[in-house]
């Protein structure tokens, strides 16, 4: 079953055709990699899927619902979580609360209820414990009460991953999660992605690092010039002449 269906999506910026009738299907429960040269439209596509940009043409269906013209918030409410290339944290808020915000539909966020402590306190405790467990999962528990502007780049990455464990999203998009990440943290991040998959979350990863994709991906799509050139396992892709010419280069095929 396809959880995400992108059909014939086009997007033009001034003179640049960023996406040109791009079609891509993501199967539920898989880890789907997207590779391609810079400027191929990967990030634009992810931005459109998550509601940050409106496509010029085409249709996007997520979990049976047409989300083509949905706002960011509306897409998120359906269970699609997008993580950014540089983790976006709330700097002057604690790590714990940075994690807790990942849980949607909190009762205490309504104006009236917020004045009646009893109506939200037990939910708050439960969210807090869930967030605490997620931080434990990613090895960030010792920083729970530090402010997010006081943690390192790698820790920010881990916290960003931890958020994906909290709201139980149906699909998570990671945009170049291991760019500028040391090898040890990279192994850790691939472990976390596989763990997400185990929990039944579908994962889409936009990435340049093939070794990383090798560890986690069930299927990889290659994007070139705003279109999906081909899809398949990483081995299929390495053998494909067009991909080698467009993206990998000769020495990567060995």
């Amino acid at each position: 079953m396809n959880i995400l269906e992108i059909s014939d999506v086009s997007k033009r910026f001034r003179g640049v055709q960023a996406l040109d009738r791009c079609t891509l299907n993501v199967q539920a429960g898989t880890v789907h990699g997207i590779i391609g040269p810079n400027g191929a439209g990967k990030s634009t596509l992810m931005e459109i899927v998550s509601g940050g940009l409106k496509p010029d043409a085409g249709r996007i269906v997520f979990d049976g619902a047409d989300i083509t013209s949905h706002s960011r918030a509306k897409v998120a409410r359906l269970g699609l979580l997008r993580s950014f290339q540089v983790p976006r944290l709330l700097p002057k808020v604690t790590v714990l609360e940075n994690a807790m915000i990942a849980r949607q539909h909190q009762a205490g966020e309504s104006v009236v209820r917020s004045f009646f402590r009893r109506s939200w306190v037990s939910e708050e405790a439960e969210i807090m414990l869930t967030a605490g467990q997620a931080l434990e999962e990613v090895g960030m528990r010792h920083k729970a009460l530090a402010l997010a502007n006081a943690i390192s780049g790698g820790q920010a990455k881990l916290l960003d991953f931890g958020r994906a464990f909290i709201g139980d999203p149906r699909l998570v998009i990671f945009d170049e999660p291991v760019s500028g990440v040391n090898p040890r943290l990279r192994t850790e991040l691939s472990r976390l992605i596989l763990q997400l998959k185990e929990r039944g979350t579908t994962v889409v990863v936009v990435e340049h690092n093939l070794a990383f994709l090798e560890d986690i991906c069930d299927i990889v799509a290659v994007m070139v010039m705003g279109q999906v050139l081909m899809e398949g396992t990483l081995d299929d892709i390495r053998r494909d002449r067009r991909v080698v010419d467009a993206y990998l280069g000769k020495d990567m095929t060995a």
């Binding site: 998120a76 609360e97 915000i101 037990s122 010792h142 530090a146």
Partner: protein, 361 residues
């Protein structure tokens, strides 16, 4: 001297109420409302109109508002009017303008309202303003008793405003507002409506502005455009920054220190300078204090609670919520006691671990 201190105390308490309102808007949600004093003025005029009495000679009394309401109701209505007008305004502006543009539009709005009210004598008597606004319980024997009564009222209102603001900070809605302040895109990424959150902050802050404005009008007994020059907004911002942005206690401290004490200190300065310069000294003094605080302690005198709030929350949870019910359940069903004990150990263990995670700041 006693009467003077009571009057000064009441003044500081009113300022605290007003600063707390701005704290919700700017401190929590990060909205740069440079027309904040306008909403204070709306509250002041509302209270004036509702309490002046039909005997007064002003147009509004004779032709629009025929009723006179008791002071608590007048304050409440002032808050609501100010809040509702905030709502209208923000629905008009916020849809179209981003934060920085909104700030500029707000400056313009403050000027426009100020000029219109000042020049339109038929509405609120123009620059001369409204006089004879009654202060509650001002007929209680001596001046000192009357001032003491009003001091009591203002402190009670300020206390309620403080608890109100603190409660918002501690609730999940407070977290939502702070996340909108820190990064609206993150809030949206997690499914929150940023526009709605800003609207809520704006209305709640506008309510406190209105109530504070009503009290101001009652204290001075008069209200005219001179009392809400657009520049006043920046003194309220200064008090918020000096006290500690987003900190409820900080707002109170900032209001008392900057708007209460410092404002009055200029009065006691030796008359070396020409008397006309003394009032300008207020601006210089406030400017210097803001600069010094930003340099020495940029988070303000009382910083935002943040992590401390969570430690308190966790402790209370552990003590009040988890431990007693689990104990009772174990007592009711001895067979299940080991399971309950295990779950209790799990919960308290999880909470303790989180508690142990001290901030490394």
């Amino acid at each position: 001297m006693g009467t003077y201190l009571l009057t000064l105390g009441a003044f500081a308490a009113i300022q605290a109420t007003v600063v707390l309102g701005l704290n919700i808007q700017f401190g929590y949600a990060g909205i740069l409302n440079f027309a904040y004093i306008t909403f204070v003025a709306i509250g002041a005029y509302t209270t004036a109109v509702l309490t002046l009495g039909s005997g007064s000679q002003y147009f509004v009394q004779q032709h629009i508002v025929h009723v006179t309401v008791p002071w608590p109701l007048a304050l409440l209505i002032s808050g609501i009017v100010s809040s509702v007008l905030s709502l209208f305004l923000i629905m008009l502006l916020m849809k179209r303008l981003r934060s920085d543009y909104l700030a500029v539009a707000m400056v313009a709005l403050g000027e426009v309202v100020w000029t219109v009210i000042g020049n339109d004598t038929s509405l609120f008597n123009g620059w001369d303003g409204l006089v004879g606004i009654p202060q509650p319980y001002n007929n209680l024997g001596s001046t000192t008793t009357a001032e003491a009564a009003f001091f009591g009222i203002t402190v009670a209102v300020a206390l309620l405003a403080y608890l109100f603001t603190r409660n918002i900070y501690r609730s999940p809605m407070g977290r939502l507002l702070r996340s909108v302040r820190e990064d609206p895109t993150v809030a949206e990424t997690f499914g929150r409506s940023v526009g709605r959150a800003r609207l809520v902050a704006f209305c709640l802050g506008g309510f406190l502005a209105g109530v504070g404005g009503g009290l101001m009008a009652m204290q001075t007994g008069a209200w005219s455009p001179n009392a809400f020059t657009p520049l006043e907004t920046f003194f309220i911002f200064a008090a918020l920054i000096v006290g500690g942005t987003a900190s409820p206690l900080g707002s109170v401290v900032g209001a008392v220190v900057l708007l209460g004490v410092i404002d009055e200190i200029t009065r006691w300065l030796p008359a070396i300078l020409a008397p006309s310069l003394i009032s300008s000294l207020r601006f210089i003094l406030i400017g210097i204090i803001v600069l010094v605080v930003l340099k020495v302690r940029s988070q303000g005198i009382v910083p935002e609670p943040n992590a401390r709030r969570y430690q308190q929350f966790l402790r209370r949870e552990l003590r009040d919520k988890w431990a007693p019910p689990l104990g009772r359940a174990a007592a009711d069903d001895p067979a299940a006691a080991p399971a309950w004990a295990a779950s209790r150990a799990y919960v308290s263990g999880a909470v303790r671990k989180l508690l142990a995670a001290r901030s490394s700041r």
